[in-house]
């Protein structure tokens, strides 16, 4: 599967080109129908309403999609590499659910609203859920098998969901928020959340780059990695921290969006091979490509309402997940 540097560069450039097209669609297509003439005038700033819609409503939202998509794509690569689990995904492992539940509980019990508290809550919830799922899955007799991790993540999500249902069903305002939180949606970014979300996202990205080399060694097994001079535990912890930072940020900004972190790394590996550094770079481009495309699709199918991007990615991701489980089975036979 090893590819030459030029081939990888070509793939990366192609993906970037597609991303530019998707981002362009993100600013041109929306729930308000603009004629080509209006769109052009809006892009050039000549039509007041169209210009506001394009530059001040759709552009920030598209940028948000780029940020969240990159975070999810990279988090997925790290999660799969560190657990050697092809089914790992912040959404499926209950990490996103942890973040989301913490945000909802924070607003219901402590009255914490948008802004820095939301980001901190999401990060704390994601960290706790990660630790708990890891603990439960690793204590199970077969150890950290993909199935055990997925099941533990599912059980964790169910438990958190039940605990919060009690709150939510007794309070309509939380109910409203929760209904939108649990699906995962891009909307106009709230500046109060966007700014505090940037430091953890950047920190997660830096950590990802730092550990990517060691993760390559980890793929060969703990013993081999140790023999190669890689500090296994430290690599695991750092990569885990990066997953928490990135998926927590994504949750704070857009709610728990599943399947992006699952699907993207597999596509990236199919295109550029198994080198974690290459996969990371490509996933950082493909993640936003998928998310922005799903968002555009979601704006079109139910106008003037929108289908939340989390629903679109779940519906696109499920067939892929099922295909993956089938492929994994066939290979093991």
């Amino acid at each position: 599967m090893a590819r030459s540097g030029t081939a990888v560069a070509a793939v990366l450039l192609g993906a970037l080109a597609l991303l530019v097209v998707a981002a362009l669609a993100g600013v041109i297509v929306g729930t308000r129908v603009l004629s080509p003439g209006e769109t052009l005038a809006g892009l050039l700033g000549q039509d007041g309403v169209a210009a506001t819609v394009i530059w001040e409503l759709r552009l920030p939202r598209t940028l948000l999609g780029l940020l969240v998509g990159s975070a999810l794509g990279v988090a997925g690569v790290l999660a799969q590499a560190v657990t050697r689990n092809p089914l790992a995904d912040p959404g499926l492992l209950g990490i996103s659910a942890g973040g989301a539940v913490a945000v909802v509980a924070g607003s219901a019990f402590l009255g914490l609203g948008a802004g820095t508290p939301r980001v901190l809550l999401a990060l704390a919830g994601a960290a706790l859920a990660t630790a708990a799922v890891y603990l439960f899955a690793s204590r199970s007799p077969e150890g950290l098998t993909p199935v055990n991790m997925t099941l533990a993540g599912m059980a964790m999500t169910a438990f958190l969901g039940a605990a919060v249902s009690a709150t939510v069903l007794l309070s309509a305002s939380t109910m409203d928020q929760y209904r939108f939180w649990v699906v995962g949606a891009l909307s106009l970014p709230d500046p109060a959340v966007l700014l505090p979300a940037i430091p953890p996202a950047v920190a997660g990205a830096i950590l990802a780059v730092v550990v990517s080399g060691s993760l390559n060694a980890l793929a060969l097994g703990d013993d081999t990695a140790a023999a190669l001079g890689v500090a296994v535990l430290r690599t695991r912890l750092l990569a885990g921290a990066a997953v928490v930072l990135l998926s927590g940020t994504a949750v704070a900004l857009a709610g728990p969006i599943a399947f992006v972190g699952l699907v993207i790394p597999h596509i990236a590996r199919a295109l550029v091979g198994t080198d974690v550094r290459r996969v990371l770079a490509l996933s950082a481009v493909l993640g936003p490509l998928l998310l922005v495309t799903a968002d555009v699709v979601g704006r079109l199918v139910a106008r003037p309402a929108e289908v939340q991007v989390g629903v679109v990615t779940a519906l696109l991701g499920t067939p892929f997940f099922i295909w993956l489980t089938r492929r994994a089975k066939e290979r093991s036979q």
Partner: protein, 356 residues
């Protein structure tokens, strides 16, 4: 990649698994009697609690239609249907869980984990959403929609997991993935309809017996009355399923068909129960396992699973309706108990491997 522990389980001790173990009848009988006794006590308590508590003497009188009009009304018209419904729903879920866990030989393979309930939920919320968006309401009754949704989900899981056999782990993962997609869809529908209806759907989605009566109980009661005996008749088949296909064939049982019939029964029961009360979380999973542990036999006696499920739902519903400040959906309580139980089962996988 994904290991296939069922294979190792089958080959673990081939000689021992070829010998049919004698079923410890006595323990099963004791367990069944004990659970039924518990059920009787809990029903008496549930019949006594309500807006105004009833004394045992007054309860006895009221059950015979004597005493103050309001007490008779409360006991016979309000509490009794709800108690019966709780038991019917619990029994249906319990049998469904026990059967699917036995047949799929996996403690986690119950209708609530596999997405049968999620399929029923999507169908029901769609019906509510169509009504709420100005379409014809009541064209498809909610129980029928739930039944169709549950069966469709089961068919889809079987189709997608095809090739891996019904016992593999693939079916679990496929079920969970399907649940995720169906839940996403349900949540989308919830965001599309009025907030009042959303609240109603949310209560339905967690599983609730609020404001339910004989109308909802009847289909479940009929289902249990028909399908439970069918499951009991197939019980010896059910036992044979624990052993290798060869043994089952030696007993004159065609394993594929028998399994399919048992699973169909399980799906129908789960969908019927869902139609009446919503997907009461984890009842099927927990009752099947509780029954297995009580009986201490490798297969799950359907009657015990039924009694365990009935007790579980009745206890949870009575607490939800009387002990808490506001009537909570019963599914919230069973979810709080069931999800940790699932985590616990994950920890103990090895000791139960190879048996349901």
């Amino acid at each position: 990649m994904i290991a296939a522990p069922t294979r190792t389980a089958r080959s673990r001790n081939p000689v021992r698994s070829l010998l049919p173990r004698p079923r410890p009848r006595r323990r099963v009988v004791v367990a069944v009697l004990g659970t039924l006794l518990l059920l009787a006590v809990v029903s008496a308590v549930a019949l006594s609690l309500g807006d105004e508590p009833t004394t045992p003497a007054a309860l006895w009188e009221a059950l015979h239609g004597r005493g103050p009009e309001n007490t008779v009304y409360a006991v016979l018209e309000v509490r009794q249907p709800r108690v019966v419904l709780a038991m019917a729903v619990g029994a249906a879920f319990g049998v469904a869980g026990g059967l699917s866990q036995s047949v799929l030989r996996n403690p986690l393979a119950s209708p609530d984990v596999l997405g049968i309930s999620a399929g029923a939920s999507v169908a029901v919320v769609s019906v509510i959403a169509i009504g709420s968006l100005g379409g014809p309401i009541g064209v498809v009754p909610i129980p029928v929609a739930a039944l169709a949704g549950g069966l469709a989900a089961a068919g889809l899981i079987a189709l997608l997991a095809r090739g891996g056999g019904l016992r593999g782990r693939r079916i679990l993962l496929v079920g969970i993935a399907l649940s995720a997609a169906l839940t996403a869809l349900t949540q989308f529908l919830l965001t599309r309809i009025d907030v009042y209806d959303a609240q109603r759907s949310a209560a339905w989605l967690t599983g609730s017996l609020n404001a339910r009566g004989w109308g909802e109980a009847t289909p479940v009661l009929v289902g249990v009355a028909v399908l439970l005996p069918a499951a009991l008749v197939l019980a010896h088949t059910n036992r044979a399923l624990l052993f290798d296909d060869g043994v089952a064939a030696g007993w004159g049982v065609r394993p594929g068909r028998a399994r399919a019939v048992l699973l169909l029964i399980a799906v129908c029961l789960a969908a019927l129960a869902t139609s009446a009360a919503g997907p009461v979380a984890f009842v099927a999973l927990v009752s099947g396992q509780v029954a297995r542990r009580l009986a201490a036999v490798p297969d799950i006696p359907p009657i015990l699973a039924a009694a365990a499920g009935a007790s579980l739902v009745l206890v949870a519903d009575t607490i939800a309706r009387t002990a808490l400040p506001s009537q909570l959906p019963v599914g919230v309580l069973t979810g709080l108990v069931g999800a940790p139980y699932l985590l616990y089962l994950l920890q103990r996988r090895r000791s139960t491997r190879g048996t349901p």
